[in-house]
Symmetry: C2
DNA sequence: TTAAAATGATAGTAATACTATTATTATTTA
DNA sequence: TAAATAATAATAGTATTACTATCATTTTAA
């Protein structure tokens, strides 16, 4: 069973809603592929236009600049991840099981239950790992934050924090632990691939040790 | 008591050693100030040249591009931090005390024992928090890593990992916990300032709760 | 003191990050 | 079905960025 999914995004993320037109969806589709292939620094609207088979000017009608586009796709990812989290923890009683799901979602070990035909979520996950932090590591953070651009990230963080509190209602740092878990999952995956000496996982494709590290980190921290 | 300090950097980081000339030191000094003021994205060699009172061409004789310069200054920071760590843990017996020093160093709570007249370490710390990750989050990671550009970061990480193993020789993830601690300290400081809902620290200047969170995270994790 | 090295001044190029204009093609609505 | 409206394509243009090159001048080192 798979569910059709359309995510409604904050309208401040775009000039014209990319989800409303064929061209818009193509922009999203090809930008994910292109950013993954050449990296966000080398990514330009000119190159994207060529991939899409359109023009630079047309892309500028959808997004103010490439940074907004990055924020759009990473934010889309956080929203989708929260959906997945809700779906997969729906029938679970024990917070321990829910936390296991959170960790497996962050390490992409869970079967995706939603279809979005123009978005390759596996490649998107790769972008979030490599480039995702650049969405908020700018001089515009405060302004972007005021425009609620990071709300989906915060919502996800808050939802995870609430699960932590189910397990240990006395725990003093549920949000910090949640954001640390999200960031650490991604950063350790990045290190594992590119700077393995910063981890203890070796370079194999095996994600098991990372999952165990994250479980250890979270459960020990929540223990009292 | 303060110690004069000169850090020898990997020569692949620069074209001409900025530490060997007045102009070079000025480039470092003003780039730290300028990156802090306008952010790495808006930072250009042209603007830097104006600040320094020199020319674009002269700066290009020292650094291949602005990304190399960022890698230079962040790497310098990691080297300096390792020196501080060695210095401040020198006479300590118990690994718990050493870990406390690590956390205080990462949150900039320790008195700096070294003088480097042209480097403002407090501003540099701010840059490492906001921009530091961009040094390795690029398509050049692998190549830069092969050139050993990230060795000081890895050395620091390894040294912290060894302290963890002193406390718990059975611990399976010393390097991952060390890199997680470093990254988390900085990221939580960033969140605290710009996206406080991702933390439990509020927006006050008080670093105490962050320090306690990090202590909790590390000590619980190392507990057996 | 002279040679060598470093810097400054200036110029130039290709690419980036846009904005503007107009023609053409779809889509909506009367 | 025609007319109006909206979206896109094609094209052009500008300021800035990210460099490279050249040569004169100043500083430093042998």
């Amino acid at each position: 069973m798979e569910l059709q999914l359309q995510i409604k995004m904050n309208s401040k993320l775009y000039l014209r809603d990319p989800d409303s037109t064929e061209l818009g969806r193509n922009i999203i589709k090809h930008s994910i592929k292109l950013i993954h292939d050449i990296g966000f620094e080398d990514f330009t609207f000119k190159k994207l236009a060529i991939e899409v088979g359109s023009t630079e000017a047309s892309i500028y009608r959808y997004f103010e600049n490439k940074h907004r586009l990055l924020t759009y796709i990473t934010t889309w990812f956080w929203t989708w991840l929260e959906y997945q989290l809700i779906f997969h923890t729906n029938n679970l009683k024990h917070p321990r099981e829910k936390i296991d799901i959170v960790i497996k979602l962050l390490t992409f070990e869970v079967q995706d239950k939603f279809i979005v035909e123009h978005i390759d979520k596996s490649i998107l996950h790769g972008i979030v790992i490599c480039e995702g932090d650049k969405a908020y590591l700018t001089k515009n953070v405060t302004e972007d934050n005021r425009s609620m651009l990071f709300k989906p990230y915060k919502d996800l963080c808050h939802r995870i924090a609430e699960i932590f509190l189910e397990l240990n209602p006395e725990f003093a740092y549920p949000h910090s632990l949640a954001s640390t878990l999200i960031e650490t999952a991604h950063r350790q995956m990045y290190f594992k691939e590119y700077l393995p000496r910063l981890t203890d996982f070796g370079k194999s494709k095996e994600v098991r040790p990372l999952v165990e590290f994250l479980q250890h980190l979270v459960f020990k921290s929540l223990d009292n």
